[in-house]
């Protein structure tokens, strides 16, 4: 019996030390992790809206935004943050929206997209993407992302047999699900832009 108590004590001790050590590491790395996320976001912001020099966060109006998204029939997408993209002299050039699409093949897809005041998409970029290597991961390639850039459309659709119209996106071969998730994400962003932010009305 004494043996059991001794074993239990030692094991408890090990667990406690391990827990303490982890807590310490967590405290130490908390800040760098947050900073990395911030950095990644800033990089993504400037990537999708190159011409702007400043990004001012717009207050999130979760209810109105999700209303705008569900009005278009999308259920799995969400726009979480929006930034006003401003030029050097403070003119509002457009908006950068950051959102999540939950329809991804390998989990949630977090993305950012830039929209000019007239509704032209300036570009998209991913904050987190965990799709199949070699298939869905090809969404990260410029060939796919650039299909959205410099296009003015109310919403995008994807096609498997060669995009013909302005608002058509060529699906990534072998990764229709990823394509759909991304396209719907962009559409959700456009919906929020059109109904809630359009033309910089909400100064």
């Amino acid at each position: 019996m004494g043996n059991v108590i001794k074993s239990t004590c030692i094991f408890t001790l090990i667990t406690l030390v391990a827990g303490g050590l982890l807590g310490f590491t967590h405290e130490v790395t908390k800040e760098p992790i947050a900073r990395q996320e911030q950095l990644a976001k800033e990089k993504a912001l400037s990537e999708v809206f190159e011409v702007a020099s400043r990004y001012e966060q717009v207050e999130t109006d979760a209810e109105a935004w999700s209303g705008a998204i569900s009005d278009t029939g999308l259920t799995e997408e969400e726009v979480t943050e929006a930034y006003r993209a401003e030029s050097d002299n403070g003119n509002v050039l457009g908006y950068v929206l950051s959102g999540v699409s939950k329809e991804g093949y390998g989990g949630d897809i977090a993305f950012v997209m830039g929209v000019e005041n007239d509704g032209t998409v300036t570009g998209i970029s991913f904050l987190s993407l965990s799709e199949t290597a070699g298939l869905g991961m090809n969404a990260q390639k410029p060939e796919f992302k650039e299909q959205f850039a410099d296009k003015k459309a109310d919403s995008f659709t994807y096609t498997k047999d060669g995009a013909a119209a302005e608002n058509e996106i060529d699906a990534i071969s072998g990764a229709t699900i990823t394509t759909r998730a991304v396209t719907n994400g962009v559409n959700a962003g456009l919906a929020v832009f059109q109904t809630c932010l359009k033309g910089g009305q909400k100064e």
Partner: protein, 200 residues
Amino acid sequence: MSTLQQLLLIAVGSALVNNVVLSQFLGLCPFLGVSKNTKTAGGMGMAVIFVITIASLVTGAIYKFFLAPWDLTYLQTIVFILVIAALVQLVEMFLKKFSPALYRALGVYLPLITTNCAVLGVALTNVQKGYATQASFGLLTCVVNGAATAVGFTIAIVIMAGIRERIEHNDISPSFQGMPIVLVTAGLMAMAFFGFSGLI
């Protein structure tokens, strides 16, 4: 999309499309090691279904009610692996006492499961995909995902065992005997399972 539809989609996705062994490479050790005949493979599969389903529920609940509210999510790996190890022991003890028949059928395989990375993999996937913290039906989603993943494992290992029983009598080039031919078989199966991605 209704909840039922969503659950069905998750189930098909985890069992066939994203097969745990053939596309996510989890649980390869038992897949390659315990697939010499269909009977043991089936037994292993059943044991895995049993353990993963329970483990999904327990780890999902722990995450939802303890780790997430107290901001301790960084402890998930250590908590999950210990819980799974303890759970396997408990299940074994429980079966031994209350269901000797089931224990005789699955008992041998249970100890092998603790380090089956599929179990921890499912627990972590449930958290990563946000099933565990989902507002409604979170735990149910975890369980469905876990059970479906385990069913996928069973399908894969039983098919593998069936093929290996046939291979036994074939004349294979000496260099490819044993492990290499099994891996080639697994590769071909993985290709076949790609076909399921058309389902979703």
